[in-house]
C-alpha cells in the first residue's frame, strides 16, 4: 500500500444493476460506451488509484462527466464504491461500518459545495455551526467556534444574517467557515468557486491559500478551471471518462502532458506565466573561476571578445556565484593600466535568483539589472544565467 493522508486504490463506481459484471468486462478491455450500450451500466469511475499527501492541495480536473465529482464522493462515501479501497490515515473508508463512517465525517472531514448548499432557514452563524451541532456540541461551544471561523473568513459581522441576504462570494465564505468549524484534517471542495465571478473566484482562492498558510489541511479540490488548478494546486490529477489519466505538479503537466486531452487543457492558458527561473536559465554567460586567485582582466577581456559576449560571471571554487563584470568595465580597467585580477573591488555584486522563482519576479529582477542575472540551485550552486534576450526567446517558444 502506498503511503499518504489519502490513498485511493483501484477504485470503481458503476451505476447499474450489476456493477461487478461491468467491472469484469472493463478489466477484459471493454470500453465504457460498449458496456453502456450492451449492459446498460454507466461507468462513473474506473480503476482510479492515487494518493494525496498531508497538507497538500490536490486538484482534480476534467470536463463535465469525467467522473471527478463522483470520485470525491467516493472518498467521503456520499456515493458507495462498487469496488476498491479508500484509505484515510490508513483506515479503509470503503469498508467502514456506518456508525464509524458517521464518526469520521463528524470529526475529521468536511465538504464545500458548488451551490454553497447552505440551509436557508438558518442564520449564517447557525449554518457555520452546523457540523458541530450534528456532532452534539453544546450551543455555547459551537457558537463560539462558529464565530471564530466566521472571523477567519471575514464574516463575523454578518453572523446573524440569513444566507439569502448575502452575495454569492459571501455565501461561499459561509460554506468554507462551516467546513472549517469542525477543524477537520481534510476538506473536499467540489467546484467550490465555480459559481463565482472571476474576481470573486480569485479572492476566494486567496482566502483559501491564506488559510493554508496558518493551518495546513489536506484538500481535494475539484475544478474545471485550469487557471484555478495551476494557481492553488500542489498537484493536479486529470480525469477523462472516469479514468485518472495523469497526476503531477502543474509544471510537470505543462512540460510533459500524457496525451492531447491533457495538452488541450493547457492550450487555453498562458503557460509562460508558470515558468520559473530554472526553466529560463541557459549557459549563455562565459564563466571564470576565482580559485583563491582572481582571473586576470586581460584574459577575460580577450575571451569575451573572441566569444562576442558582453558579460562574464565569476564563481568560486565551489561554483558559488562570486560576481559579474561587463566587457566595457574591463576595457576601462585595462586602459587605466590596471592589470590586476578581477576580484571584489571591481566586480558587480548581484543577488542570484533561486531556480523556483516565478516568471513575474524574474522579469522584475531583469528590469533592475543592466546585464544578465545568475541562477542558483537550492544549495546556492550557480547553474545558469538569464538575460533579457534569453527570456524573450524562451517565452516566444523554442
Amino acid at each position: 500500500m502506498q503511503s499518504g493522508k489519502i490513498v485511493v486504490e483501484n477504485l470503481y463506481k458503476v451505476f447499474g444493476a450489476q456493477p461487478q459484471e461491468a467491472i469484469d468486462l472493463l478489466k477484459q478491455g471493454w470500453s465504457k460506451d460498449k458496456i453502456l450500450a450492451e449492459k446498460g451500466a454507466v461507468i462513473g469511475v474506473s480503476d482510479v488509484s492515487f494518493s494525496v499527501e498531508e497538507g497538500e492541495i490536490f486538484v482534480l480536473m476534467g470536463l463535465s462527466g469525467s467522473g471527478k465529482s463522483t470520485l470525491i464522493r467516493l472518498i467521503n462515501r456520499l456515493v458507495e464504491p462498487s469496488a476498491g479501497n479508500v484509505y484515510i490515515d490508513g483506515q479503509n473508508v470503503a469498508k467502514l461500518p456506518k456508525k464509524q463512517l458517521i464518526d469520521l465525517r463528524r470529526r475529521d472531514m468536511s465538504m464545500v459545495f458548488q451551490s454553497f448548499a447552505l440551509m436557508p432557514s438558518r442564520t449564517v452563524l447557525d449554518n457555520a455551526a452546523f457540523g458541530l451541532e450534528v456532532a452534539g456540541k453544546s450551543r455555547k461551544e459551537r457558537e463560539k467556534r462558529a464565530m471564530e471561523v466566521l472571523t477567519q473568513v471575514g464574516l463575523d459581522t454578518f453572523a446573524h444574517k440569513f444566507p439569502h441576504e448575502l452575495s454569492g462570494g459571501m455565501q461561499q465564505r459561509v460554506g468554507l467557515a462551516r467546513a472549517l468549524a469542525v477543524d477537520p484534517s481534510m476538506i473536499i471542495m467540489d467546484e467550490a468557486f465555480s459559481a463565482l465571478d472571476p474576481l470573486k473566484r480569485r479572492e476566494m482562492q486567496d482566502v483559501l491559500l491564506e488559510l493554508q498558510k496558518t493551518h495546513r489541511r489536506t484538500i481535494i479540490f475539484v475544478s474545471h478551471d485550469i487557471e484555478e488548478a495551476m494557481r492553488i494546486g500542489t498537484r493536479i490529477g486529470i480525469m477523462e471518462g472516469g479514468k485518472l489519466i495523469q497526476v503531477g505538479t502543474p509544471q510537470e503537466l505543462v512540460d510533459n502532458p500524457a496525451n492531447d486531452y491533457v495538452r488541450n487543457f493547457f492550450d487555453t492558458v498562458d503557460t509562460n506565466r508558470y515558468l520559473t527561473a530554472g526553466q529560463l536559465k541557459a549557459d549563455s554567460v562565459p564563466l571564470f573561476v576565482h580559485n583563491g586567485k582572481a582571473p586576470d582582466a586581460h584574459t577575460v577581456s580577450q575571451a569575451l571578445q573572441a566569444l562576442d559576449k558582453h558579460y562574464a560571471f565569476i564563481v568560486d571554487e565551489n561554483h558559488r556565484f562570486y560576481g559579474s563584470i561587463s566587457l566595457e568595465k574591463i576595457a576601462l580597467l585595462v586602459e587605466g593600466g590596471q592589470t590586476r585580477g578581477l576580484d571584489h573591488a571591481v566586480l558587480k555584486q548581484i543577488n542570484p535568483v533561486p531556480e523556483d522563482m516565478p516568471l513575474d519576479q524574474v522579469i522584475g529582477r531583469l528590469v533592475d539589472n543592466e546585464g544578465p542575472i545568475p541562477v542558483v540551485d537550492g544549495k546556492g550552486i550557480y547553474c545558469g544565467a538569464i538575460s533579457k534576450g534569453r527570456l524573450l526567446t524562451r517565452m516566444h517558444g523554442e
Binding site: L78, M111, A117, L118, F130, I188
Partner: protein, 293 residues
C-alpha cells in the same frame, strides 16, 4: 338504473356489515377518542368571548400579513356576529381544526415515510387518488354506519378527504430538497434522524405548509358537507336552507363559510411563504423544537 352484471356495491355493503358485526368495539373506541379530542378543541374555542377570539385572528392577520388584511378579518367576523352565525362559525372552526390536526398527525408522518421509500409511494398513490376524488359525501355513508350520527363520522369522513394533500406535499417537499443540501447534511455526519429533522424537514417546510393550507381548505369544505350526518356548525344552516329553499339563509350561512375560508387560507399560507423572513414564526419554532430532538 340498468341491470347490473357485476355487483361491486353489495360487496362493499358486506364488508361494512362485517366490520360492524365484528369490530364495533374498535370503532367505538376510535370514535370515543375522536369525539373527546374534537370536544376539547371546541370547548377551548368556546372559552373566550367572541371579541377575544376575533381579536386573536385580527392580531394574527396583522402580524403575518398586514393592516389591510387585519381590517378585512375584523369586518368579516363582525359581519358574522351581526348576522347571528357566530356560534355555528366557532363550531365549524372547531370541527375544521380537529379534522385538520388529525389529518396532519397521520398525513405528515405518512408523507415522510413515502419520501424515503419508492415502494410506499407506489402503494399509497392510488389510495390517495381514491380518497381525494371519491365524491366527498360518499364517505359519509360508511362513516355514519360505523360511528353513528354526529360529529365523529363527520370528522372521520373529513380526515379521509383532507389528508391527501398533507401526504403528497410532505412527500414532494422532502424529495425536492436540493441534492447538495442533503449531501451537506450527510457529509457533516448526520445520521438519518438528524438528516430528517435538521435538513429535510426544515428545507421542505414551505411545501409542507402548502399542504397544511390545502388540508385546512379541504377540511373546511368537507365539514360543511358533513352536516348531513349531523356534524353541526354552519353546515346545518346550509343544509336547512336547501331543505327549505331559503335563499336568504343560504346566502348568509354560505358567506360565513366563504369569509372563514379566506381568513384561514391567507393566514396559513403566510406561514409557508414568509418562512425565511420571519424568524419568530410558528414554523421555525416548531422546527426548532423538532431539531432539539
Amino acid at each position: 338504473m340498468s341491470e347490473k352484471k357485476l355487483d361491486l356495491g353489495s360487496w362493499v355493503n358486506d364488508v361494512v356489515q362485517h366490520l360492524l358485526d365484528n369490530y364495533s368495539g374498535g370503532f367505538d373506541s376510535i370514535g370515543g377518542v375522536v369525539s373527546g379530542f374534537s370536544e376539547g378543541i371546541e370547548s377551548v374555542l368556546m372559552l373566550p368571548p367572541a371579541w377575544l377570539l376575533i381579536a386573536i385572528f385580527v392580531g394574527l392577520g396583522l402580524w403575518r400579513i398586514g393592516a389591510r388584511f387585519a381590517a378585512f378579518t375584523a369586518v368579516s367576523f363582525i359581519l358574522i356576529v351581526l348576522t347571528g352565525f357566530w356560534e355555528q362559525t366557532v363550531v365549524t372552526l372547531g370541527l375544521t381544526f380537529s379534522a385538520t390536526l388529525i389529518s396532519l398527525m397521520l398525513g405528515i408522518p405518512l408523507g415522510i415515510w413515502a419520501a424515503t421509500s419508492e415502494r410506499v409511494t407506489t402503494i399509497i398513490r392510488p389510495i390517495l387518488d381514491f380518497m381525494q376524488t371519491m365524491p366527498a359525501f360518499v364517505y359519509l355513508i360508511p362513516a355514519a354506519m360505523l360511528f353513528g350520527l354526529g360529529r365523529v363520522p363527520g370528522i372521520i369522513a373529513t380526515v379521509i378527504f383532507a389528508m391527501p394533500p398533507a401526504v403528497r406535499l410532505t412527500n414532494l417537499g422532502i424529495r425536492q430538497v436540493n441534492k447538495e443540501i442533503i449531501e451537506a447534511g450527510q457529509s457533516f455526519g448526520c445520521n438519518s434522524r438528524q438528516l430528517l429533522f435538521k435538513v429535510q424537514l426544515p428545507n421542505a417546510m414551505p411545501s409542507i405548509m402548502a399542504g397544511v393550507n390545502q388540508t385546512i381548505m379541504m377540511a373546511l369544505s368537507m365539514v360543511i358537507i358533513a352536516s348531513m350526518v349531523g356534524a353541526g356548525g354552519l353546515g346545518n344552516d346550509v343544509l336547512a336552507s336547501i331543505q327549505r329553499l331559503d335563499i336568504g339563509l343560504g346566502f348568509e350561512s354560505g358567506m360565513a363559510v366563504v369569509l372563514l375560508a379566506i381568513i384561514l387560507d391567507r393566514i396559513t399560507e403566510s406561514f409557508g411563504t414568509k418562512q425565511t423572513e420571519k424568524r419568530n414564526s410558528l414554523i421555525s419554532w416548531v422546527s426548532a423544537k423538532l431539531q432539539r430532538e
